[in-house]
Every structure is written in structure tokens, then in C-alpha cells.
Symmetry: D2
Subunit: 308 residues, 4 copies
Amino acid sequence: MPPEQSESLSSLRINDVEVVDTFAEAFPIKATRLVLTAISERWALTAATELCGNATSVIACDVEAAVEQTIPSGETPDGRPGVSVLVFAFSIDALAKSLQSRVGQCVLTCPTTACFNGIENCPREKQIRIGGAIRYFGDGFQKSKKPDHRRFWRIPVMDGEFLCEDYFGTITGVAGGNLLICGTNQISALVATEAAADAIRKVPDVALPFPGGIVRSGSKVGSRYPKLKASTNDAYCPTLRSLTPSELPADCQAVYEVVIDGLSFDAVNQAMRQGLHAAAGMPGVLRITAGNYGGKLGKHHFHLRDLL
Amino acid sequence: MPPEQSESLSSLRINDVEVVDTFAEAFPIKATRLVLTAISERWALTAATELCGNATSVIACDVEAAVEQTIPSGETPDGRPGVSVLVFAFSIDALAKSLQSRVGQCVLTCPTTACFNGIENCPREKQIRIGGAIRYFGDGFQKSKKPDHRRFWRIPVMDGEFLCEDYFGTITGVAGGNLLICGTNQISALVATEAAADAIRKVPDVALPFPGGIVRSGSKVGSRYPKLKASTNDAYCPTLRSLTPSELPADCQAVYEVVIDGLSFDAVNQAMRQGLHAAAGMPGVLRITAGNYGGKLGKHHFHLRDLL
Amino acid sequence: MPPEQSESLSSLRINDVEVVDTFAEAFPIKATRLVLTAISERWALTAATELCGNATSVIACDVEAAVEQTIPSGETPDGRPGVSVLVFAFSIDALAKSLQSRVGQCVLTCPTTACFNGIENCPREKQIRIGGAIRYFGDGFQKSKKPDHRRFWRIPVMDGEFLCEDYFGTITGVAGGNLLICGTNQISALVATEAAADAIRKVPDVALPFPGGIVRSGSKVGSRYPKLKASTNDAYCPTLRSLTPSELPADCQAVYEVVIDGLSFDAVNQAMRQGLHAAAGMPGVLRITAGNYGGKLGKHHFHLRDLL
Amino acid sequence: MPPEQSESLSSLRINDVEVVDTFAEAFPIKATRLVLTAISERWALTAATELCGNATSVIACDVEAAVEQTIPSGETPDGRPGVSVLVFAFSIDALAKSLQSRVGQCVLTCPTTACFNGIENCPREKQIRIGGAIRYFGDGFQKSKKPDHRRFWRIPVMDGEFLCEDYFGTITGVAGGNLLICGTNQISALVATEAAADAIRKVPDVALPFPGGIVRSGSKVGSRYPKLKASTNDAYCPTLRSLTPSELPADCQAVYEVVIDGLSFDAVNQAMRQGLHAAAGMPGVLRITAGNYGGKLGKHHFHLRDLL
């Protein structure tokens, strides 16, 4: 995501760190939440990790997905430890298609798991069907049960039954909240960005779809190869300083980006605030900025000025 | 995978555990190995985990993939900590297509990583291109270097350069080695199967593609729904005992399967041996068996008798 | 901790689980909180884990100690990721003596760490000195700094300086809150107790000093060996049913205890509530009870009835 | 541990990293190995971590201890997953006293564990008693069993029985093998030293007693305070360059040390070799050296020259 020219921007500060007076530009996207439970938090996380793999960016993956948080056993639908997962796609149909496959391959298969809808009060026409699609694996032995206006499928498997809710709600969320952390060297920048990601993971209603929550291959729209819609954001590549105009601070040898998807503007805003303050406390951080497209493409603007 | 009728089979034993005198039936498959390095073992594992997500079974995923092992920094191509990953697909083309996308989405994006070929001495016509396909992300700023007859692409990114080897070797491996662990209850069966998976992970040249290395949704070929090629293996579902002929021991309430893919017959055989002995030492295990199709479909047969 | 005879007790229920109408009996104890920061949450946890090792019970260890929670970098004294640790002992002097040694051996030595007081507003006579005792390691090169009425020691080490606060507050807390989870077998009881421990770890101001938060060697006061002050609680040992009067439910093969130390009655009470409800949702749990001494020894009584 | 003056030393190299032509000086010490098993590798590790806490240096702790390696369930005495732990002290009596307490507090208490001797063929007069000392906790209900000339105690606890071997062998090992990694800044030096520690952990018969395997508070013998036997190694403190003669390379801002204890000279030598090569491949490493006392105090000398 190419940040606009920062030269003309005035600068803010947290501690000794420069905060560019710019904004992150984000987009509406369709979202859902799955609550996975299992015999232990560890097994719920195992299923969630498999489910959320190869799901970093809807540019090339079918969905963006990541773990939201862990849920104590006293607070889940079936009284067992749980993990909530947020999943994002360009359309409700894309969500449905992807999750019918991913839940079938990654959760149905995983020891002891069950799978529950995590978006309440969604009108039927915006719901997607998951359990109802997977149930045929039961080869006619599956059964439905319907307590409290919700329908569940009980699909017999080798360790008992896989319980999967029939319909899942969807919501229009926000994709592409972001922070760019510019550091003096690769490891310092990375450790500071990890601190930001750790802080953001404590905020509800958001998820970080990239590996470990962090992306190092920032991109610009378009490329010199006609087929390629996006390519490396050369203005942010430290090795290209002598070849192309640079947006980097003078002593910066590395930049990392945190990309934040969320269920609402407020959730992404709060996540960006926590991440900004967490990164600003770390050694070796020169500048924190954010990526946008001049404000014309994305509906949601998150101004760093408002997060101080 | 429906084991054949065990009633007619004589029984072997390890300790007090019954080992059915049967065999696992497995298939040739195309395989490759990627060596991912990073600034730390933890980041190499982060990239590997993202890369291997949603890759449990080629029935519905584009590939089967899992971490093989960690590699100390003194033994990797670039002297940094590494992780090797094994990836399997029905054809060389399917491997190439999947990995061009997965490496681009999950490794190129991941902080500090590099990506090296892990199959030496492969004839050119069986090699697949990864770095050479991803290089265009560099938007013309990428460069190649060619020490020692191997070509690498250096693609500029925000934390420096992503180094990715151009070509990767492939090999004809083995898919579908397996063990079925029958236990007195769900948790005992699971803990015993985890012990088997832990032991198998110490064997080189094999990988366990299912979540946590274990699958609970064993399947049979076909179903009563014409479109569905595979469905739940009802003879191994403890909740269906009263509805359908059962293959389960009398007191068995849960079965888990370890599915093993490997680079050779010998590697899968050694993995099955380690897993068999590890599971047999655990409490609550009633029977260990393996899945086959009568021996007519798969080229490779792993007889449990030979593993005692 | 020997629960009193449960036969005469009426029973409560959560779901299908029996909750004995009894109470946990706990004691006043001296407590402090250390906030450890480091370059990453992982290194803060590494120091905390070393510091809290061999600290399960003040019966035989110098202190009881465990991690309380992780703290995002934006919320710690030095802006780096942190972990808070709670430490308990019979006297303020015992706390001081133990922590001067433990911080010197386990935190001073640990890469990148700093160590801050986590109990504010403590009168000077109840404070203990840590940084001021360790500072001599600096061999005269140590320096103090004193922002905001707090004094810190900067002790030169090979990776820079170890920053350690001079004085730490203490408080009178509560030791020995507890729950006893009775299960149908060992693994089920353990998994249910883990769910309770996981839920309790989300509650502030409490810590679980035993390994993984759980103890299996419940004790009674005294023994047939005169020197031994405590011995196995035979009424709760499933293998002794035929040899000694048993307090166990008929089908119970295993019991685990969660022991909870905290900074206040309310914190321990809230932790017991979360743990009770978490365990009650898990499969294989027959009964949940608590340990006491008839109410005559300990000042604090936590009635399970009040936690439903 | 104060390395001798490096100025007069010629230099070796691995890649671009300077390796000082010096040696690590180490000492004979008494050692034992415990094999802890449990229902899962994770619980065996939980007990081992508690047991090895607050055990970094025999200067001030009762023992030095760390995990050696994990053991698959097929290869342990009771067929369950295991972890081996190495423990070191100045005398056999100190080992016995410490482990009677530590096993009682940290292993007896820990869910599902058992504890086995890991040093075979030790003459009786060099053995230490652990199970035989802890057995009294059983309050007369404990039983011994004696298969194969080894005696075990079965001590009844709430989840069944704690099985603990009566006697454990000891051996004369080696304490204080070490490497000093000098880096351009704190985080680079740390990440490189972590790579060394990761590589060393794959070598059998050695253990790393400091937090995460790494120590940052290198010490010299003596101090200006008469009571203090050791104090900060000021020649290796980057913040003291202007105050005291420095042994650091010009651009070095941080040094970390790996301290290696082992069961034999060869094991420590092999560990140092693996660690040296692992660190030398990492970015930001300026120099690798080792600590000694001029060779007069310690019996064992490990020359870096021999490890290239």
C-alpha cells in the first residue's frame, strides 16, 4: 500500500519517535466469525491455525483470516475451551465457498473440535451456510438438532461427532487498517513491530492476517509488467535508495507493516492506537506512518493524529 | 481410508496392545522440499506454518504440506536458522502452481525469510520454477545471482531483499502411510496418537499434513450422495455401532488416524514403526491397525507385522 | 489440604456436575508484584519462568511464585513488552531475602530485562529492597536515577545496563484458595482442570504457583512419621480405596487441585468462580469440591455456593 | 568469566566473523540425569521447567539445571513421552539434598509424572537417593517394586501413583564451557546467540542452565566490595568503555555468553563447535571469543581453534 508523499507532511511525536501526520486508508469487506471449541485450548488453536493458513491477502488468497482471541471454557457454547477466528472476503458468496472447504478440510478433520457461529442477529439473507454444506460427509448418518432457534449438524466421525452450526452470520467489516514501522535495522524494526502486533492482539473484533501479524512485502498498485496488478513498493525498499525516489528516513534500513482487518471502524481504530503506542516505546524506531492511496479509493480513513 | 475386515485377521501384540496383522496402503505422489530460513527459528516456523495451512488432503486442498524439521543455523544455505517443509501433489504442474502462489503469499510476505530448494540432483524436466515466477513482484528491480550452478532471485522488499531460489527439484514420494489408534475414550486415544505423532516428527523425510498431525474424520470411498467421492468411514464411528456394522473393538469409544506422507517407502516405513511403538506404550490404547483398500489401489503396502 | 467429610454435605450442581456445598480455607500471606520487561514478551516470559521455578509451596520452597499476566509494551514503565509476576512468602523478610537472590540469579542474568515494582502506595516500612541489594554486582560502576520519587539502579552488564527498581511494595494477600476437580479418569480430570487453570489465568491479581497451575499431590496435615508435617491425603487417593476411608465419588479415578494465591479476597474469589464454571463445562467431571481444615485454621473462607 | 587479554591473540575467522584464538576454561563438577515422563511431552516439560527454575549458577543457586532433550514415548522406561534433565552441583551430597527437595516440590506435585534415573552403571557409593527420601510422603501407603535390580517407589497421590526410582547415578561432568558472542547491537547479538543456543540444544549430554540458555551478566572474580566474590566483568560492558579498559571490538554494543555444562569433555566440545558455527552464520556478529582465567584454575580447556 503506497503511502502518499510524506515530505509535505508535518510531523507529530510520541516519545522520540516521529509520527507522520497521515492516515491509513481502508475498505469495506464482508466478514464472519467462527468460534472453534475443542477438548483443550491447544487443540482449538491447532484447528484455527490450519483454517487460517494461506489466507494472508485477498489479492491472491481466497480469504484473509486470523485468530481473534481465546475464550475460556466457561464462556463458549459447549462449555469447552475455544478460539474465535475472523474471516474476510470480497463477497458473501466468496466467504461461503471458502469456508465450506476450509472448515471441511481443517476443522472437521481436527481432533475433538466443534464449530459455532460467532455473529449474532444477522438477517437470514446475509447468512452463509457451513454445517449444512458439510453435513453430507456423514453419508446419511448425520443428524440435526435445533435448540434455541439455531440449527446444528452432528456428523459422525471416528472420535464421536463433529458438531457444526448450520448458518453463520456475516457483517460488513473493514480491511486494510495499517501501520508502517520504520527502524534503524532489520531486527530492531521487527521486534518493535512484534510489540505492536502483540498489543493489537489484545483488542477484540480485529485480526492480523499476515504471517505472525506482520508483512514485509509492501506493495504499490500496478507494475511495469502489464499482467501484474501490484508490485513491490520501491519507495519503501531500503536497497533501492540509489535507484528510485525513496520515502524512507535517512538512517532507516528496514520497514515492517501491520495490516489490520476488523469488524468495525472503531475496532480497527482502537487496534491502530494500541499498536502505535506499543511500537513507539521500542528502541530503534525512527518513524511510524501509514499507507493510503490519496484517500480516493477507500471509504475508511484512520488518521494517526487522532491516535496519539 | 476403510481398513479391510479385521475379523478374519490374526492378531499381533506390543505390550498389552493388540496390533492387527494388516497393512497400510499408500500411493505414489509428487513431492518437493522447501528450506525456509529466517532471522530466527521462530520466524522460519511462522512462514512454514502459514505456507502449510489449509493443506491437509489433496482430495480437496491444492496440496498436502507440513513441516519436516528444524535446521540449525550452521547447516542452512545462508547460515541462518531454518525449517524444511515437504509438499505433495498429484502432479508436478500442480506442485508448481500451488507453490508459486503459496510462497508468494506466505513466504515473500513474511519478515526476514529466504527460500531454498531442498531436493538436489533433480533432472531439469522434473524441476518446478518458484523464484523465477515470483520475481516479477520486484517490478524490474529484482536481480539474479548464480553461484555454484544454482540461480537465485533477489527481490527488493521493505526489510531488504527476499532471496528465493529459481528452480526446485521434485521427486516421486509416497502418500497415505497411516496408523489407526483405537482407544477406550476420546482423550486417551488422542493423547496416545499425539505420542505417535511426536515420535514420527523425529524421523527425516516424512511429514504429517493433518492438523496437529492427526485426523479424526476417517473416510471410505464413495457415499450415498452421488456427487461425493468420499464420506465418513461409518464402520469406525463409535456413535454408529447400533446402526451399521462396526470394525471397532468392544470398549472403544474413539479412533484417531495418523496419515504420513514421505519422500520414500523406507522413510514412511520407519515413521510408521516409530509411531506404532510410541502409541503402544500409552495407556488406554486397545488396538492399533491401519487402513487399506484391499491392496488393489495403492502400490505401497506397509505391513504392521514387519514393524514390531 | 484435607477437605472435611463431604458425606454430610448437601450438593449443588452446575450442568450435570455435582458441586459440594463446602468452602476453601485460605490464609493471609505477604505478597509482592514484579514487573519484568524485555525486548520481547518472549524474553520477559523467559526471565519470569526462571524466577518462578522451584517455587510451588512455602511448605518447602522459599516462596510461592507464578506469572500473573503479560503487559503490552504501551503500558509498561519502560515502553517494552512486560510480564507481571506475583510472589508470596510468610514474612516480608522472607520475600526480601528470596527475591534478592532470585532476581540476581534469574533476571539480572537474563538478556535485555529490566525489573520494576508492581505494588504502588506501600508505606516504606513494608517495602523490600531489591535493586539496592543487587547493585553491588556493578562493582562501583552502578548508578542510581530518581525520577518521580522512585529510585532505580542502573547496573552495567554485557548487553548494556540492567535497570532495577530499588524498593518494591508488599501487601497482605491470600494463599491457598483452591478447587478440587474429581474426574472419571486421569486424563479427563487433567484436561478439565487445565480448562479451569486457563480461565483463572485471565483474572488479574492472582497466580497459580504449582506446575502448569495444577497439583496432584494433595496433602493432609501430619503423618505417621513424626518429622513429616504433611503427607498424602489418602482419602483422596483412588488407589487407596480398599485400604483407607475414601472421600471420592464412586467412579472417580483421579482428582486434581488448583491452588490459587492472590492479592485480595475478591481476586481469589473471582478466580475460583471462573475456574469452577470452566471445569463444570468439561466432559468427565464428576464432582467439584474444595479443601479446608474445618474452618478453624484459615481466616478466609470461599464458599462454593456463592460462586454458582 | 574474564577472558584474558585478547589484544595479544592472533585471530581466526569463520566467514567474515573474527574468532579469537583463545580457549574456554571449565571445571569438573558432579552431575546427574533425571528422566521425567508424563502423559504428554508437554506435561513432562512442565515438570522439567519447574524443576530447573532458579538454577542458573552454583555461585548462588543450590544447583545448575536445564532440560537436555525430549524422548519419544517408545524410548522411555514407562513407554510414555519423556524429557531428560541434567543437574550439576559441587558435590554428590549437594546434588542429593537439592534434588530430594526439588523432585518433591516440582515433580511429585506435577500431574501424571514419573521420575527415572538416567545415569546407568554408577557404583553404589556415588549414587544419590531420591525416591527413597520422598517416599515418606506416602504416609505408609507407599510400596516398592524391584524389577531388574532397580528399585522404584510407588507413592499414592490424587491422580494415581507417583512412580520414582530409589537411587540415581552421578558422574563427574564439566561445568563452564562457554562462548562469548560480540555483536553490533543488542538485538543482533541476542538473535545470533539464540541461534547458537538452538544449535547446542540438539547435542546430547549437555545443558544450558541460564535463562533461555543465555547470560548477559558476565562476571569477573572478586570486586571492590570485600564480601562479593564476583562482580560485573567491566571489560565487557559496552557502557563502561570510557571508564575502564575495554576488551570489546570497536563497534560492539552488546555481548552475550552461552554457558554450557555437560557430562563429558567431548560433549561440551561438540556443543561449543555447533554453537560457534551457528553464531558465525548470523548477521551482526563481530567477534566470537571465550572466557578463561589464564588456564590456571580450570582443568578443562576448550580451544576455539580446534572447533573451526
